[in-house]
Symmetry: C2
Subunit: 767 residues, 2 copies
């Protein structure tokens, strides 16, 4: 399972040695991005071996007509596809007229990739042996600027290591790209204009249906012996590709560099007729600053991110590399600057799953962004859902709900549901609860109540309406039930009374009613506005509470556990350890019906509820449920190990906690799920962060105070992390001898550290 | 709902008056076929209005790549599509150079269609007003010969009713046809050869992937005043169409007829290089016999069918028309001559649902064919499944079953599963039980036990293996359960312990073991062969019996009813009568999740079990279950009303029985489901037959004797039907004054007539 080709290193992801079979996996792992755009680590020069090309512009998507076998009423009409965007990295290289292609050269040696996470750049180097007499060495470094987020820089240096050569570079933009993930082979893009001006090229593309305009641009420089080489303007273009040509001779031992400033401007941020001027202005700024300054700025920007977000692990290089990789990728994906964006499941590393927003954001990502960024970033993520409330009401309307009830989409780009399996779209409704939990979590953590009267309460009311309408009163049980759902464990479909869903629904209603009362008391004008807008009556609230107060929770008296759903104990209960390895992963080895009727759990379900509502249950209850459910869990969702790591740590099962931690933190680096070539699991990376901070660090918020219950895996000498708590920084250091928290801030802060209540004074160190 | 444009008539389906909006519906209703081929009632001449073109060759299909949103392990790779075949009916008609097209002519009067079921032909007539001064009358009759089942005949007569005209006919074959039902717009057919010889044309086509070869052929004659008109050979062709041209002048009042002999030869019945010679031989036979003789032969053939299969209803013309339409369509679809064929859900009237074989055949069609044909026909239908046993074992293997366990497909052409919804393909496993029930039913009815040792026992053993492997032992309940199924009521998916499925599984095992013992005792060499082939051991049989003996049956003590599935009573139980009509049909008005969690039943489920195993339950039990389930049933499956009609008759609920009878018998004629334009519901037509014979006629077999418990709806003066019982004919006459059964046969036959045991002597009449 463990590919183990990534070389352990504290700050870099490193691959050494040329293995064509690893190209696609590495294209995922070495991806770069800056929140506004990103790309897989495709080669600049031509490569005829197996590759998965991917460049992505945040917020730009295509509504691909839904593909299903038999249409069912209520299906969304399209699936939002993440679009492969025009390629601006391309540099074809000709050595004495022969095109460089690692798939066909005589030999490749000294092949190395490095993703330098500390400074935010990616470099690939190799020696290509073209013949007995001719070899070149290439060092290609590139980065996507955090400083100028429409800019990428590529520095492609070639050295003639054997023989003198004539080298010709053809930097190009290719707008004739396609998606791997397409339902009907639609053309996603139209090319509107291709322009070449001196050493610049600009291409204007437009997405079909959605009419996003994207300007893709490049400007090239040729540098030899540190000097810019003047070269004649040559270019050619066809309908979709525009290429420049720059050639020169180099002697053995000499180097020449093709440097490319490139990037995207998009109609999300500019009028479409401004896209070329905006591109030119980016290029002007870039060339004025120059490569070295830009690289320095990049390192500075990343240093700022790391200053807040870094986690150190002492004594376990692979664990250290894992957590930094996760933090790095999250920051490459989403920086919280733009409330229209969100955290796609594959970020900028692949197309799979489409859409940009799952419940992953609310359930797994919010804590990371709350604690490692200004709290405005988490607020932006919440605001994103508020701004899509109307669409969530429309989604619910398509399924027959009314009066402003909302069902947030399973996956979306713009608020419209765009998943297309009935058992998910129509039934995996627990996602609605995560929206409310995130609000609760945000207020609990940041202390910023203002979000609720301003925006959150409307979301909560719409969701409470949904739960009320969605519940069924069982006369037999004299209880409300929620029938026909899919829980977080997607290896069960259309079950009745998924405990997690029922519990969350009940909690949502109660929390909403609490906040209606709070807003009524403390924010009267907001209250009046919201009541007027939602037509909410006391009798409706009474009806909600009737549902919440009489919600059925499947529980087994004999085992003393909540049942994942009705009938769970009728299954044949055999622990995963007793399941033959030939059947695993079951999602690849078993037919769907066999998975469904088995007891195996894809990801935390009941335990997810215990994670959200830790304070509702005793440690004994947690232990009992962990002991029952974990052995049945196959963790075939990337979102499973992190929650289990946290729960294991709480139960002092440190070996298990450590094992789950490794699995979540190195899920992609070690390719546990055998699919990393499709892209990285971005949202679960926030779960990795939680494993450290909430698991080993034991962070929770008790009465507005951060509380830490620290646990050190025996494999580690120590670990440290920081959190931004209400605009002050708490620096947590855990070693074999104890734990300490340092405050970087201006005001005293009460904390609880391993059950001890402490008041931290600014700059004071506590042990 | 009731379109009510079909004019009631005892022997014909008649439409009068030109309504373009009815064209597609009538194309379905006036379809013709002869078991080997069939076609919708498309116009011969050009028609630019809305039309759904369809011509079909039995057994010829295309495996269309499965279309689903997200692939699940075990999915079949393709869906077998019913193929629109080359069009041989086409006759373009030009009047003084202007092409006849009912969509564009000045006016259409005297428009009439008649499907003469007694004689087996279809005729369309109309007057087309081309201008103030010019009008023609057309009478186009056609039939598909039962005598020569590769032959169709079209007699297209034009009369100049106003003005003298020059008329030009262009009879053609168009092999450039497409399917409406296609997943990916694949080309289903390739044209291999187009040949014109004198007045004959032949086209050789080949289906992609499956490589069926079909020869489509025609030969034309021009007849004026009863005389053949010689006309010069003119033709043209392109890649897919070949057309002839025949023109002549006619005076006002004169008529001219273009007669076309046409049809298909296929590689199912000939080597592909023999298709043209075979076609020529059909044409030679046809032209030698001539139109009038062929028409006479057609009427004779149908007279033979009706002599056995006719049902008369006295005093209710619409009911009479309904039952004859059903019997007629069944005979057009399948005549039992070829054990490779089966009864497609739309027969030769449309493409929808693909495939040719559902469990409908075993559950609904076998009784009709057993009682109205030689018993060899039903045996052929059973043999069809025997011959596909290997494929059923493969199907089960794809889902993880082993050791020869078989899962028959939900839909197939060649034995391979070709449905593609997981909740059907993987879960609607009750279909397996219908295979065994049909064997039981066949032996019970025909007394032909030989099928079991020869073929049936192998099928039963493979199915018993499946049930054994598919059951789960619930430690809690100390019972075997069947988890994760879809019952006959497809408005529930992935439920646990569907009573019908569990009951059927248990019965299958018991019946199989009984027969293993019987075959062991009475057919030792068959027994030895089968045991050797199946590796069956006593311990395996013991394990099966453990499952059967300890099968869980969901039952509610308080109501005293078997529950459709676990948890059914947790639903909100509101009878269909109390459901707002704006929500119906729910499959068009509600989202899928809402349907699933509602209590509404698509078609008989528990009551289907009571229908199959009538003798296992008391009338009181039936009544209780009928009273509980029927009010929750929306009958949105065509297979629902027939079973309910029979059950209502048994309970003396004659008004309900009659209402359900009308609904099943006129489902298509009155378009209850608002979809008749897609084709007719062929398999449910056999259910209509059952409503009369088993419902109002009360036929059941008790100890090898036919028993009749007759019930006359008060709307009728009487009804009659015949059954072939073990090669003797029983003619049942029911009137307001009583019932009588007449024997046409050579041997005395014991029967039970309304509880009276009677021995019928040949030709003796009993009252």
């Amino acid at each position: 399972m463990n590919q183990e080709y990534i070389i352990p290193n504290a700050w870099s992801i490193i691959e050494e040695g040329w293995k064509p079979s690893q190209v696609e996996s590495s294209e995922s792992l070495f991806s770069i991005g800056n929140g506004a755009m990103g790309q897989r680590a495709n080669f600049e020069e031509k490569y005829t071996g197996a590759t998965f090309q991917g460049s992505y512009v945040a917020g730009v998507y295509y509504p691909d007509k839904t593909r299903v076998g038999w249409w069912k009423n209520g299906y969304p009409e399209y699936f939002s596809k993440v679009l492969n965007a025009p390629n601006f990295i391309g540099i074809d290289v000709f050595i004495d007229g022969e095109e460089l292609d690692l798939a066909t050269v005589q030999e490749v040696t000294d092949y190395r990739r490095e993703l330098n996470m500390k400074e935010g750049w990616y470099e690939r180097s190799f020696t290509a042996h073209l013949s007995q007499e001719k070899a070149i060495n290439v060092v290609a470094r590139r980065f996507m600027s955090l400083e100028i987020d429409e800019l990428a820089v590529i520095n492609y240096q070639v050295t003639a290591v054997k023989g003198a050569i004539r080298i010709s570079f053809q930097p190009y933009i290719d707008a004739g790209i396609t998606n791997e993930d397409t339902n009907w082979d639609d053309a996603f893009w139209e090319v509107e204009e291709l322009v070449s001006e001196e050493h610049q090229a600009l291409v204007l593309s437009r997405t079909n249906k959605t009419n996003f305009y994207v300007g893709t641009f490049m400007q090239s420089e040729l540098i030899k012996n540190g000097e810019h080489v003047q070269y004649a303007e040559h270019f050619d273009k066809n309908d979709t590709i525009i290429r420049h040509k720059a050639a020169c001779d180099i002697a053995q031992g000499e180097s020449v560099t093709l440097r490319k400033y490139a990037g995207y401007t998009s109609s999300l941020n500019h009028e479409h007729f401004e896209l070329f001027p905006a591109a030119k202005s980016v290029l002007q700024k870039a060339t004025e600053l120059g490569y070295e300054s830009l690289l320095k700025l990049q390192a500075d920007s990343w240093a700022q991110i790391w200053a807040m977000a870094d986690i150190t692990i002492d004594g376990d290089l692979k664990a250290q590399q894992g957590i930094r990789f996760n933090i790095f990728q999250l920051n490459q994906t989403y920086l919280g600057k733009d409330s229209r964006l969100n955290i796609g499941p594959k970020g900028f590393t692949g197309e799979k799953y489409g859409g940009s927003t799952y419940w992953d954001t609310e359930a797994y990502c919010i804590p990371f962004y709350m604690a490692t960024k200004d709290q405005q970033v988490a607020r932006n993520l919440l605001r994103y859902r508020y701004e899509q409330l109307d669409k969530a009401v429309e989604n619910a309307g398509k399924l027959g709900f009314s009066s402003g009830a909302a069902l947030y989409p399973m996956v979306t780009m713009n608020g419209e549901e765009s998943h297309n399996e009935w058992e998910i779209t129509f039934e995996e409704i627990h996602r609605n609860g995560a929206m409310v939990f995130a609000i609760y979590n945000y207020v609990r953590y940041t202390g910023d109540y203002s979000y609720i009267p301003e925006m959150g309460l409307e979301v909560m009311i719409a969701i409470a309406k949904f739960w009320h309408q969605r519940a069924t009163f069982s006369q037999r049980a004299n209880k409300y039930m929620i029938l026909g759902v899919t829980g977080p464990n997607e290896y069960e479909n259309n079950v009745n009374n998924n405990w997690y869903t029922n519990y969350l629904a009940k909690w949502c209603i109660n929390y909403t009613v609490d906040n209606i009362n709070k807003v009524k008391d403390g924010h009267k004008s907001d209250y009046d506005r919201i009541i007027a807008k939602t037509n909410l009556t006391d009798s409706e609230i009474t009806a909600w509470l009737d549902v919440a107060n009489n919600m059925y929770e499947p529980f087994d008296e004999e085992l003393g556990i909540y049942l994942q759903q009705d009938g769970f104990l009728d299954k044949e209960i055999i622990s995963v350890n007793d399941l033959s390895p030939v059947y695993r992963p079951i999602n690849q080895k078993w037919s769907w019906d066999r998975i469904l009727r088995s007891c195996y759990i894809k990801q935390a379900d009941v335990l997810q509820g215990f994670y959200f509502f830790e304070d509702h249950f005793t440690k004994e209850q947690l232990e009992k449920h962990f002991d029952f459910y974990e052995p049945l869990t196959v963790h075939e969702s990337s979102l499973s190990p992190c929650v289990h790591s946290i729960q294991a740590a709480k139960l002092d099962r440190m070996d298990q906690a450590y094992e789950f931690y490794l699995r979540t933190s190195r899920l992609d680096l070690d390719d546990y799920n055998k699919e990393v070539e499709e892209g990285c699991h971005i949202t679960s990376m926030a779960g990795t962060w939680m494993s450290i901070v909430e698991g080993f660090g034991g962070l929770k918020i008790i009465d507005n105070k951060p509380s830490f219950t620290t646990k050190l895996p025996e494999q580690w000498n120590g670990f440290s992390f920081k959190i931004n708590f209400r605009n002050q920084i708490l620096d947590v250091q855990v070693t074999k001898t104890g734990a300490q928290v340092t405050l970087e801030g201006k005001h005293a802060q009460e904390i609880i550290l391993n059950d001890e209540h402490i008041t931290l004074q600014p700059q004071m160190v506590n042990a």
